[in-house]
Every structure is written in C-alpha cells, then in structure tokens.
C-alpha cells in the first residue's frame, strides 16, 4: 500500500467505525469500498489491499465483490458522476434525446470521463423517480423533469466549475469523493438542506385534501 501514514491512520479509524456497526466484520465490506472511493476516487489496488487486510479476506475476494456493483469504479472517476436515465419510462418521455445531446456536448459516451476529469457520463438504469421523468442524477442527487436545455446548462455549469443545484437534495451537489464518504455511512451535516418532497410525491395527498378525504371515510 502506498497511503501515507496520516491517510492510513484516518482510514483505519473510519474502518473501525464501520466494522463496529455490524455483528460480523465482513458486512463492513460494502461501506468500506465506498470509503476507499472517498479517498482515491475509485476502488484502487491500494483500496482493495486495505479492505482485504482489515477484514482478513484475500484481495481476490474483495475484487470479486467490488466488480459486482456498478457504483464501484475501476478507473479514477470524474469529479461528477452524471447520469441520464435511459430506461423505458424516462427514455420515452425524452431521456433518449437528452442523452444524445448531453453526450454530444460533453464529448464522451457511457462510462467515459472528460479529459479535464470533471464528468464521468453514464446511461442510468431506473432510479425509481419515474414520476419525475425525464430524470438525471449528478453524484446521486436528483435532477427532475429535465429538458435538453436544462440538461445542457447543467453540463456546461459543471464543466465551468460552477456549483449545481439538485431539484430534490442538498443545496449543492458535493463532489464524488465527498458523496462516497456519506455512502460509507459518515454524516456530512447536510441532511436538512433542500425541501421535504417534490410535487408528484405529494400529488395524491393534495387531491385528498382538496376533496376532503381521510383514511376512515373511504
């Protein structure tokens, strides 16, 4: 491993915290892989060696797990993971066209990173936000009801180094490494940012209130 001693010390401390959440140490592997991504920006050979040593596994066992899950990256990832949903519902509602325009603007295809390391582009599988279609995600924050124009603006802003603002999520999108640290289970104090729920989430509630329905009366 090539981590310097300060990094290694912090990693060891964080790994202890993660392992303590589970009755059996091996359960800590998924969050620990998120943790090494928060340091290296991908699941690096060092990261694999670190997880293997801490959990008393072989590096082959750790790699086998890491390669199963799409969120674990095998190459240094861009600062922003930009996903366009092209699953049936979003694709039909306009996701295919958004993908085409975004990919053209960024100059990269699926699972490729721009030369400046800003954006890794991805054709997303369904993110269960169909009622907000067409949907994009940046570092796993929701950008709802997208159009080609709003999508291109988003890409331009990221390439220009500006902050971008999810529709439902934190006030600004944190970078890939910071978000990976949250996914390892470490709070970043941003849970209260952003609204409670979007309009479609509350659509049924609104109708019920307008029509004076309650659970009991139906």
């Amino acid at each position: 491993m090539t981590y310097d001693s300060a990094t290694l010390e912090q990693l060891a401390k964080d790994a202890d915290d993660i392992v303590s959440r589970y009755p059996v140490p091996r359960s800590a592997l998924l969050p620990m892989l998120h943790l090494v991504q928060s340091v290296d920006g991908y699941v690096s050979p060092d990261g694999i060696a670190f997880c293997a040593k801490r959990l008393d596994l072989t590096s082959a066992e750790v790699s086998a797990v890491a390669t199963f899950y799409t969120q674990y990256k095998r190459r240094p990832n861009g600062e922003y993971q930009v996903g366009v949903c092209t699953n049936t519902l979003c694709a039909v509602m306009g996701g295919d066209e958004i993908w085409r325009r975004v990919s053209e603007r960024a100059g990269v295809g699926h699972d490729e990173t721009t030369a400046d390391g800003k954006i890794t582009l991805e054709r997303l599988e369904c993110n269960a936000a169909c009622d907000y279609a067409p949907v994009m995600m940046v570092n796993w924050e929701f950008f709802d009801n997208m159009t080609p124009e709003s999508a291109l603006q988003l890409v331009d802003d990221i390439l220009d180094g500006k902050d971008v603002h999810p529709t439902r999520g934190a006030d600004t999108v944190a970078d890939f490494k910071s978000v990976s640290r949250v996914l390892a289970g470490f709070e970043d104090g941003r849970a209260d940012e952003g609204g409670l729920a979007g309009e479609p989430t509350l659509a049924g509630l609104k109708v019920a209130k307008e029509r004076g329905w309650t659970g009991e009366s139906k």
Binding site: T88, D96, E97, A128, D131, P134, A170, V182, A208, E216
Partner: protein, 395 residues
C-alpha cells in the same frame, strides 16, 4: 424516507419488538444519497431520544438499527440476494428453502420486508385493525401507494385502498396527457405483464389483477399513450434485465442477452417473422426455469406485448423500420438534428476505442456483429428442455 424517515424507523422499532429482534438493518440502494443522509440523521435522532439503543424507555428491550447503503445492483432487492450483499458478498440469490425466516442473515432467523410495509405499521397500530381492514377488498385489505408515471397529466404518488381502478386513479391524476389516449400500462412495474385500455376498470387488488393475467407487484403504474412504440418499450425493459441479471443461472444470464439481441433486431428493422416466434420460445426457456424471480419477470413484458400487439412487431419486420416517431412521445421538442436511432446509433457515435472497451468489459467481445445467435439460442432451449422437471418426468 426522504420526507418522513421517522415513520419507517418507528415501524422498524415496532416490528423488531414484535419478533424480539435486537438488530435491524435498513438496506437502501446507494444511488440516492440525500435519502441516505436523512435516514442516517433520523436513526441518530431516534437513538438520542431513547427510542433506539439499550433498554428502550425502560422496557428492557434493546434494539440497534444499522442503515446500510448498497452500491448499484437491482438484484439486491431480492430478499436472499440482499442478505448475501449485507454479509459483504456479491448480491446473488440463495437457494430457498431454507427461507430467511429459518436461516437468513448470518444463518439466523430473519424477516425481510419492504419499507412501505414496515412504514405502514405505526398507522395500523395507532388506528387499529378495523380501521385498516375497512379499506381495500375482501381478500386484499388495506391501502397502498399507487405510483403513476408516464403520459399522465399529474404523475405522482396516490395512496389509495387496494381495489381502486386505473380509471379512478386517472380521475385524480388529471387523465392521460391532453390529446392522447392510453395505449398500454404496467400494473406493477416492468416485471409484470402489460395491460391496455381493456383493464381500465380492473380492481387493482391481488386477485383481480392476477385474474387478468398480470400482477399487482410494486404498484408502479407506468402509463404510455398512443405515440409510444411497444417494441421500443419492451426492448429497453429487457436491456435493463440483461444489465441487472446477476449471472448466477444460465437461463436468465444467457437468455436476457439473446432476448436483447433479437429485440434490438426487430426494433431496428432487421428482424424476421421467425424472430417473433424465437422471442416467445426464448422466453419459454427462461420463465419458470430461472433461479429467482428476476428471470421470470424479464419475460413478462415481452410475452404480454407480443400477445396484445402482435401486429406492431410484424409491422417493424415488414417495414424494416420502427413506424413510430419517437419525438412525439417526449415531453419536449426534439433538437434540430435528426432524431436518434436508439440504441444502435448511440454506440456507433462513440469513439471506436470506447465501443471496444465496453464490449470487452461486458464479456461480449467474442460475438461477431453479424452472428444472429441461432446456435446459442437453440443450445439455451436445449438446456431448458433437459433441465425441465416436466421433461424428466416424461422420460
């Protein structure tokens, strides 16, 4: 989980108390970071308020709750794949029996439930059983969230008693988008056979939806209007299942791959009449022969779409192209440049090296472009035949 995570945590506490479990896990997909932030915070708050931890409110009952983020694998929603994933392994389903209730997480008795189920527990405890069972139908009791998406005026979440119909739901959601008619829809997500206008008045409860040949499933109602190409929709769903197949069993791993190849061919206009039958035969080799329900689910939309829209599949073959204007389905005007030919043109637009790279990664590099898969598909059908319990009995 985003707006009111405490409802879920309260449900977790009550259900854990009921089954005398001292450690519960909330497994959340990793691709929704803000939801995860709020769950982490809510669990911490619940500990601080004494609702979780040791000797909760002096009851002598201890409960720890761990919120666990996945890492991008749909199959980890399947209960036994989830358990393997939670144990730090590849998320692949386990053989059942033993069922999780007998030997689950760490080989200990485990109950796995959907978060909506668990989050509904506090309201049932609070309002009583009679309140809950007064809603719904004779055999499908209670309420649930019906999620309406697609070509509907006001997409969103509509909580309603089981047994409500799509016509009633559409009344709340402002109907199908203006100027169009409903063409087809999924009652329970993409793994359930599709419905058409004929099922507008079908009560959405387990029995009635089953009697109409589909499943209530997740209550994810995806609605598509008359502009939508059913072949395009089905092809894209199948690509999803191909991507998410965990690879453990042959019918699903190989079958979803070949289904995608055939469907792309038909959608792109290079398919043959025989391909349509080949689709059904391949589905037959997967459904009922897969290790878990993902494989079965992958065939649902195909078989039902071919049954209900056979002429549309034939049209693609006869025309040698898709008869639909994809731009007409979108919520906005397409750009000036000519419309996309998904997904073939897409891959072609990428630099040569990237295409090769992707193919190599997915392990598809061995298949020449012009190979139509006949041999592989018959091998798959043969495999299914040999491994079919029915065949064995006959022999």
């Amino acid at each position: 989980m985003m707006a009111n995570p405490h409802a879920l945590i309260e449900g977790v506490a009550i259900t854990s108390f009921a089954i005398r479990s001292n450690h519960s896990f909330i497994y959340l997909r990793g691709e929704v970071v803000h939801v995860y932030r709020r769950l982490l915070q809510a669990v911490r708050e619940a500990y601080e308020a004494g609702h979780l931890g040791k000797n909760i409110h002096g009851s002598g009952f201890d409960l720890d709750v761990t919120v666990h983020a996945g890492a991008g694998a749909y199959i980890c929603g399947e209960e036994t794949a989830l358990l393997d994933s939670l144990e730090g392994r590849r998320g692949q389903p386990r053989l059942k029996p033993p069922f999780p209730a007998v030997a689950g997480l760490y080989a200990r008795p485990t109950v796995v439930n959907n978060v909506e189920t668990v989050a509904s527990v506090p309201s049932i405890i609070g309002n009583g059983v009679d309140w809950f069972t007064a809603m719904g139908t004779e055999r499908s009791k209670g309420m649930g969230l019906f999620s309406l998406s697609g070509h509907v005026t006001k997409p969103g979440q509509y909580e309603a008693p089981l047994g409500i119909t799509l016509r009633e739901l559409l009344d709340m959601a402002g109907g199908i988008r203006e100027g169009h008619e409903l063409k087809f829809w999924t009652p329970g997500g993409s793994s359930t056979p599709i419905f058409t206008q004929d099922q507008l008045d079908t009560p959405l409860d387990y029995e009635s939806v089953g009697a109409e040949g589909s499943m209530l499933g997740t209550r994810a109602l995806q609605l598509f209007d008359d502009t939508t190409c059913v072949v395009r929709a089905v092809t894209r769903w199948t690509e999803f299942y191909k991507h998410e197949s965990c690879g453990k069993c042959t019918p699903c791993r190989e079958g979803t791959y070949w289904l995608t190849q055939i469907l792309k061919r038909i959608e792109g206009g290079t398919g043959t009449q025989a391909d349509i039958q080949q689709l059904l035969d391949t589905c037959d080799s997967i459904a009922g022969r897969s290790f878990c329900a993902l494989g079965d689910g992958a065939t649902s939309s195909i078989v039902s779409a071919v049954a209900k829209f056979h002429e549309e599949f034939e049209q693609h073959v006869a025309l040698g192209a898709c008869p639909f204007d994809h731009a007409a389905s979108a919520l906005f005007e397409y750009g000036a440049e000519e419309a996309v030919e998904e997904p073939v043109a897409d891959a072609a637009a990428e630099p040569e090296a990237a295409v090769a790279d992707e193919a190599a990664e997915e392990g598809e590099g061995h298949t020449p472009d012009d190979y139509d898969g006949t041999a592989a598909i018959s091998a798959l059908n043969e495999f299914a035949r040999v491994n079919d319990p029915k065949t064995e009995k006959d022999a």
